[in-house]
C-alpha cells in the first residue's frame, strides 16, 4: 500500500519533469498550423519533421555551432586539467615558500565568479583584438581554482609512501604528477571533467558578451541567434533546434549516468 502510493507520487512527479521533453520532441515534428491549432495531442497528424529540422540546420550554421561547443568545452577542460593537476599536487604534497599565499588565492578565486570580473576581462579582450575568436571563449576559463581545490583535497589522501617510492625510483616531480598522481586521482579528474563540460556547454553569460558572430557562437548563444532570426513564432523549427542542441549532453548522460551524477554531486560545492 505504501509502496503503491510512493510509486504513484514518483510517477506523477516524473511525468511533470518529462512534460517539457515530450512536448519539445512532439512539437519539433509538427507543422506550424498544427502547433497553432492548439491541441494537446503529442502525435502530429501531419509529419513536418523534415522541414523543421532542415530549418534548424540551415537558418543558423548549426553544425558549426555544435562543433564550436565541442571544441571550446574540450579545450577548456584540457587546459584546466593541465594547469590544475600539477598545482594541486604541489599544494597538497610539497613544501615551498608562497604555498599559503597561493592557496589563499585559490580560496579567494572560489568566491569570484566570471560574472563579477567580466568587465575587465572584456576590456582586455577588446584591447587585444580577441573578441569574436574561439580563443576568447577558452582563455578566461583555463584556470579553474575549483579544480585546484578539489584535486588538492583528493591528492592529500594519496599515501606519501607512493610518492616517496616514485621519487626514489628517480621520477621527476613532473613525472610523478602525470604517472602517479593522475592515475590515482582519475575518479576526481573524470568527475571534474563532466562538471566542467556541463557548465561550459550551458554557459551563456560570457559568450553573449564576447561573441557577436553567428559563426563563432556556442550552442546556447546560437539558439539565441536562431530565436532572433526566426520571425514570428515558428515553434516547430525552434523545438527542432532545441532538440539538436540539447541532445548531445543528454545522450552522453544516458550512456554514462553514474559518472555524470558523481561528477555533478562531488563538485556540487561549486555554486
Amino acid at each position: 500500500m505504501t509502496r503503491l502510493l510512493r510509486l504513484l507520487v514518483l510517477s506523477l512527479g516524473a511525468a511533470v519533469v518529462l512534460f517539457p521533453f515530450l512536448f519539445m520532441l512532439s512539437t519539433s515534428f509538427k507543422p506550424q498550423a498544427e502547433v497553432f491549432s492548439a491541441g494537446l495531442s503529442l502525435i502530429p497528424s501531419h509529419f513536418a519533421g523534415w522541414e523543421n529540422y532542415a530549418k534548424a540546420f540551415t537558418r543558423i550554421p548549426m553544425a558549426r555551432i555544435l562543433l564550436n561547443g565541442v571544441v571550446v568545452c574540450l579545450a577548456i577542460v584540457g587546459f584546466q586539467l593541465v594547469f590544475a593537476l600539477p598545482a594541486a599536487y604541489a599544494l597538497a604534497k610539497l613544501r615551498f615558500p608562497g604555498r599559503d599565499l597561493l592557496f589563499g588565492l585559490v580560496l579567494l578565486g572560489l568566491l569570484v565568479p566570471i560574472h563579477a570580473i567580466s568587465i575587465p576581462l572584456y576590456a582586455a579582450a577588446r584591447a587585444l583584438g580577441l573578441l569574436n575568436t574561439l580563443a576568447v571563449l577558452i582563455v578566461p576559463f583555463t584556470l579553474s581554482v575549483f579544480a585546484i581545490f578539489l584535486f588538492r583535497q583528493f591528492i592529500k589522501a594519496i599515501p606519501d609512501d607512493l610518492i616517496l617510492a616514485a621519487r626514489s625510483d628517480g621520477l621527476s616531480e613532473a613525472a610523478i604528477v602525470w604517472r602517479i598522481i593522475l592515475p590515482n586521482a582519475w575518479s576526481a579528474a573524470s568527475a571534474f571533467a563532466i562538471f566542467s563540460v556541463v557548465a561550459h556547454w550551458n554557459d551563456l553569460y560570457w559568450p553573449l558578451i564576447a561573441i557577436s558572430k553567428t559563426q563563432l557562437a556556442t550552442p546556447p548563444l546560437g539558439l539565441l541567434f536562431f530565436r532572433a532570426a526566426e520571425a514570428g513564432d515558428d515553434y516547430g523549427a525552434l523545438m527542432a533546434a532545441t532538440v539538436i542542441i540539447t541532445a548531445p549532453l543528454i545522450l552522453f548522460f544516458l550512456f554514462a549516468q553514474r559518472l555524470f551524477i558523481e561528477g555533478m554531486t562531488m563538485t556540487g560545492l561549486k555554486g
Binding site: 560574472h115 576590456a123 583555463t142 546556447p220
Partner: protein, 299 residues
C-alpha cells in the same frame, strides 16, 4: 656536496613546486587577481566605456546604488526569485530523495528522470517552457482550461513573470538537490534506525524526525547554500525569455549588471554592482560556515 643536505633537499623541493605552480600562479594573476582589483578600482568611479574622462566618486558610488531604482528593483526581484526557488527546490529535492531511496525497484530509473533537467541546456529548455507557457496555444494553459480553470499569462504579465521563471528554476534544480540528498542519505548508519526502533520510534515519521533529519543536517545546510547561490545567479532564463521585462518585473541582479556594463557601457556602475554581488556571495558562504560550525555533528 652542500653543507646541509636537508636544506638542499628543501631547496630542491621548493624549486620543483615553483615549476609546478608557476603557470597557475601566472594565470591567477592575469585572470583573477588583476581583474578583481580592476573591478574594485572601477567600482568607485563613473567610468564609461569609450569615454576617456573618469571621475573618482569614492564611497558615493555605493551610496548612489542605494537610490538606483533599477538596482533596487533587481535586488528585490532576485530576492523574490530566490525565496520562491530555493525553499521549493530544497524541500522537493529532499522529498524525492527519500521516496527514490526507498523505492528499490525503480531507483535508477527515477533518479535518471529527475536528473535529466540538470544536464539539459537551460537556454534550450527555457525556449521549450516559453512554448509550454504560451498564453493561447501553450499546453499548460490548455490543461488548465481542460480542468476548468482559466489560463494564466505566465511570462507576459509583470505580476506572474517571476513566478513563471521560478517554475523553470525549480524544475531545473530539483534533480540536482535530490541527488545531493541521496548522497547524504547513504552516509547514515543503518544501525541508527534499528536503535531508534528499539527506543520506540515506530512510525516512518518518527524515524525521519529522530534519525534522518538530524543526520542529514550538514547536507541540508550545504544544499540550501548551493540552491540560494544558484538562484541568485539566475541569468539564462531571463536573457532568453524576458530580457528583464515586462516593465522591468524580471530584472535580476546579473541581468542588470550585464545591461549596465555591456549594453549601456556604464562600467563604473556595473562594477559597483558586481562588488555588491561578490559581497553577497561571500556573506552566504560565511553564513553557511557559521551554521555548519554551530551544528552538532553526530556523524
Amino acid at each position: 656536496m652542500p653543507a646541509n643536505p636537508a636544506a638542499a633537499a628543501a631547496r630542491l623541493e621548493a624549486r620543483a613546486a615553483w615549476w609546478l605552480t608557476g603557470p597557475t600562479a601566472l594565470l591567477m594573476l592575469v585572470l583573477l587577481v588583476l581583474p578583481t582589483l580592476a573591478v574594485l578600482a572601477l567600482s568607485v568611479t563613473d567610468a564609461e566605456l569609450g569615454v576617456p574622462a573618469i571621475n573618482f566618486l569614492g564611497f558615493d558610488a555605493y551610496t548612489d546604488l542605494l537610490t538606483d531604482r533599477t538596482f533596487l528593483g533587481a535586488l528585490r526581484n532576485t530576492a523574490l526569485y530566490v525565496a520562491l526557488v530555493a525553499p521549493a527546490s530544497v524541500l522537493l529535492g529532499l522529498g524525492l530523495a527519500l521516496l527514490v531511496e526507498a523505492e528499490l525497484g525503480g531507483r535508477a530509473f527515477f533518479r535518471s528522470v529527475y536528473f535529466l533537467p540538470v544536464v539539459s541546456l537551460i537556454v534550450a529548455m527555457a525556449s521549450v517552457w516559453q512554448y509550454l507557457m504560451h498564453p493561447s496555444i501553450g499546453p499548460i494553459n490548455l490543461v488548465l482550461r481542460l480542468l476548468g480553470a482559466s489560463g494564466v499569462n505566465w511570462l507576459g504579465s509583470s505580476d506572474n513573470v517571476l513566478f513563471a521563471l521560478a517554475v523553470i528554476g525549480i524544475w531545473q534544480a530539483l534533480g540536482f538537490n535530490m541527488v545531493l540528498f541521496m548522497a547524504g542519505l547513504t552516509t547514515i548508519d543503518r544501525t541508527l534506525y534499528a536503535a531508534a526502533e528499539m527506543d520506540g520510534a515506530r512510525s516512518a515519521w518518527d524515524r525521519f524526525r529522530l534519525v534522518t533529519w538530524p543526520m542529514l543536517g550538514p547536507t541540508t545546510v550545504f544544499v540550501i547554500t548551493i540552491s540560494v547561490i544558484n538562484a541568485v545567479k539566475v541569468f539564462e532564463t531571463v536573457a532568453t525569455l524576458t530580457q528583464g521585462g515586462p516593465a522591468k518585473a524580471s530584472e535580476t541582479l546579473l541581468w542588470v549588471i550585464y545591461q549596465e556594463g555591456f549594453v549601456y557601457l556604464h562600467v563604473g556602475t556595473a562594477s559597483a554592482m558586481a562588488v555588491v554581488f561578490i559581497a553577497l556571495l561571500l556573506f552566504l558562504l560565511v553564513l553557511q560556515t557559521r551554521v555548519l560550525d554551530k551544528q552538532v555533528h553526530y556523524g
